[in-house]
């Protein structure tokens, strides 16, 4: 009778142990699952934030093919091409001004030659007039003398116009040359300044791109650190399963004690199956030095 009472007490103790262990395990399980979800959320937020950062930063300036990089490159090329074109035009203009100056000198020389020839024509005209007086008013020589005189006057008048134009051009050509040189200096100054500014923009873009690359690399490092820390947190959270199994093992020991007691008392008794059967038969917890060990075969 006393033996049956003892076994009944053991049965009730087992029920209470199992009920309490399951209650504890359920509580810790819920909390650990909640903590796991928080860990997951932290990693997801970090992933999302870095992906957004990459879109925002890397998109406009982070690579050579971004819209902003292409626009800046296009603008720089445009300015370079135009300053180069203006420079060439100024140089061509200087060449043409030089050619005009040479032509003016040729015209002046030609005018002098015309003047020389006209002087010869005037001599011929005088000779014709002398010859007309000698031959007692020869109509032929008289006509030649008059025509030569008229022609010489006309040539002198035309040559004077040419000389006046040549003189005017000789005065204006140096002014053209001076203006061209001034223009060339302005264009060269602008080209140098434009090149400096473009180079400055290129340097700033390169610096910005480096800064973006550095920021993204640091973000990737931070993300890797977050993942590593989350792995560490997950590793720590595994205490729950180990503890739960350990607590359930107590039921096995009480069941074993019940069986031994029933056998010693010679009582036929139905012992309820243990709450958590294990494949192994180790009562002792696995050596902690082995925990986490990975053996690949």
């Amino acid at each position: 009778m006393a033996g049956k009472t003892t076994l009944e007490r053991l049965r009730k103790v087992r029920e209470r142990i199992i009920a309490r262990v399951r209650q504890v395990n359920k509580t810790t399980e819920d909390d650990v699952l909640g903590a796991g979800r928080h860990v997951q959320r932290v990693v997801e937020v970090a992933h999302r934030h870095i992906a957004r950062l990459r879109d925002v930063l890397a998109g406009p300036v982070g690579n050579e093919d971004s819209d902003l990089a292409r626009a800046i490159r296009s603008q720089s090329d445009h300015v370079r091409q135009h300053t180069s074109s203006v420079g060439k035009a100024v140089t061509e203009h200087a060449t043409q001004v030089g050619a005009v100056a040479e032509q003016v000198r040729s015209i002046t020389a030609a005018a002098r030659e015309i003047e020389r020839l006209n002087a010869a024509a005037r001599v011929l005209s005088i000779n014709a007039r002398i010859e007309a007086s000698r031959s007692a008013g020869s109509a032929v020589f008289s006509t030649i003398a008059n025509e030569m005189q008229q022609l010489s006057k006309a040539i002198a008048s035309a040559n004077k116009t040419v000389c006046d134009l040549a003189n005017a051009m000789e005065k204006s050509v140096p002014e053209l040359v001076r203006q061209n040189q001034a223009l060339a200096r302005v264009v060269e100054g602008y080209s140098v300044e434009a090149r400096d500014r473009i180079d400055a923009v290129d340097r700033r873009v390169a610096e910005l791109r480096d800064a973006v690359a550095t920021t993204l690399a640091e973000s990737d490092t931070a993300l890797a650190e977050i993942v590593t820390e989350s792995h560490a947190a997950l590793s720590k959270l595994q205490f729950q399963d180990v503890c739960a199994q350990g607590l359930l093992q107590i039921d096995g020991w009480v069941a074993e004690l019940s069986q031994q007691t029933a056998a010693e008392l010679g009582i036929e008794s139905q012992i309820a199956p243990i709450a958590h059967t294990t494949v192994g038969n180790d009562d002792v917890e696995v050596d902690r030095r082995e925990a986490g060990e990975v053996m690949l075969f």
Binding site: E29, L33, L237, T278, V279, G280, D282, V286, G292
Partner: protein
Amino acid sequence: MKKILVIDDSPTVRQQVGLALSQAGFQVVEAIDGIDAIGKVDASVSMLICDVNMPRMNGLEMLEKLRTDARWKTLPVVMLTTEGQPALIERAKKAGAKGWIIKPFKAELLVAAVQRLTA
């Protein structure tokens, strides 16, 4: 994306293994014991991570049953358990397990093992 079948009666372990593997780019499917796992394994599964002590069908029984099917003769299976007895490890090895990891596991080592066995 490679699919890993995680078999454990503990929801916390399934969650922890699932998070570690999903962060490493794996797709994770869960089973609560050996019988559930046998029903879920298919050609799309690249590897199994299996607890040993589970109700209904334990991990070693599941592994031995799995190997009787010619389709799953070479499917990598790693045991993940609190057990560390050499006899059990040897039994798993004979049954064709590719590895044995003792809980509590280190997530980075688990991920490295999975990456190696699914490479």
